[in-house]
């Protein structure tokens, strides 16, 4: 396993739609590297485009900082349903270091994804897991937190980021 370099915004690769994964076998090394990269960066989620791989896969572990690892790899993830209830909370991103943006999202989502073995999972995510999964899925669609705030707030945050 190797920790790879994390791309930082405004790298154009962070604004592109990623391709569906077709070859699962080729993902094993990538997923292992992505976990390594994420843990090294003290993060809880990392999407493939953040390490320059334009494929629809992300890794996530929302509990490891509390001492228990729960690594999940989501290949070709889809949000099947999202709650009407939304909440606004601060989000930081490993590709936009130092910036925290208040993003509004559904509090619950039902996600469907494939794991590395090709098995399909369907699960309702809540709490931080729901936020994190939506944030990572956004990356697969070329969306970052800057795209999820008002134009005024975006200008403020971009200015802060430039400093």
């Amino acid at each position: 396993m190797t920790a790879r370099a994390i791309l930082t915004w405004p790298d154009p690769r962070l604004s592109h739609l990623c391709d569906p994964v077709t070859d699962l076998a080729a993902l094993h090394d990538l997923a292992a590297d992505m976990f390594d990269t994420m843990y090294t960066a003290q993060g809880r989620g990392l999407a493939a485009p953040q390490v320059g791989v334009m494929q629809r896969v992300f890794v996530m572990d929302v509990t490891w900082k509390e001492g228990v690892k729960s690594p999940v790899t989501m290949v070709n993830p889809v949000i099947e349903w999202a709650s009407d209830q939304v909440a606004t909370g601060p989000e930081g991103c490993l590709s936009i270091p130092g910036i925290t943006a208040d993003v509004t999202r559904p509090t619950q989502v039902r996600m469907r994804w494939s794991d590395l073995a090709g098995d399909t999972h369907i699960e309702v995510l809540t709490g931080f897991a729901a936020i994190c999964a939506q944030h990572e899925l956004d990356h697969l669609n070329g969306i970052v937190t800057f795209d999820r705030v008002s134009p005024d707030m975006r200008a403020v945050l971009e200015q802060e980021y430039a400093r």
Partner: protein, 173 residues
């Protein structure tokens, strides 16, 4: 009952003077239940509504910490200190909105507080010891005041910087 997320200092909602509760409603009773659950879960001995993002004058507390003693949850709407002793006491205070930071604060040792209970009845009681410190700490929240506001500016700034760092860390995906 739901555990609600607790705001971490610095947050503008923790600096606001909260609005008086005009009328008790089921919604406010649910909020009070949620706040008690959030407080016990944390765990803490007091919680004010602004700490869960609701800028209204409501606090909950339970300072009964001894083993084997039944819990004594209290819910206070529009609480007011109507008498404070000249005697003071010093406690090492902490705050769920300022995790893992503690400092000694001097406050009146006993106080009389008046409040509305969950049935809408006016209550009045004397508090001393930890209860007195806790109820004053919580009522301070309703006026946008934190225990670190009693500390020297340098210490306060140091704590605030640590909290900014913690917030960035907690928000990071």
């Amino acid at each position: 009952m739901t555990i609600r997320p607790i705001l971490i200092h610095p947050d503008p909602r923790l600096k606001k003077v909260c609005d008086a509760v005009p009328d008790l409603s089921d919604e406010l009773r649910v909020l009070a239940d949620d706040m008690l659950q959030t407080m016990y879960d944390a765990p803490g001995i007091g919680l004010a509504a602004p700490q869960v993002g609701i800028t209204q004058r409501l606090i909950v507390l339970d300072c009964e910490k001894a083993e084997g003693v039944p819990p004594k949850p209290m819910v206070m709407f529009n609480p007011e200190v109507i008498r404070s002793s000249d005697d003071t006491s010093v406690y090492e205070e902490g705050c769920l909105s300022i995790p893992d930071q503690y400092a000694e604060v001097t406050r009146p040792a006993d106080v009389t507080v008046r409040w509305l209970d969950t049935s809408g009845d006016l209550q009045e009681a004397d508090f001393d010891g930890l209860w007195a410190t806790c109820v004053q700490h919580e009522i301070d929240h309703l006026d946008g005041k934190l225990f670190i506001d009693y500390l020297k500016p340098l210490k306060r700034q140091m704590i605030t910087r640590k909290m900014q760092k913690l917030k960035r860390e907690q928000a990071r995906m």
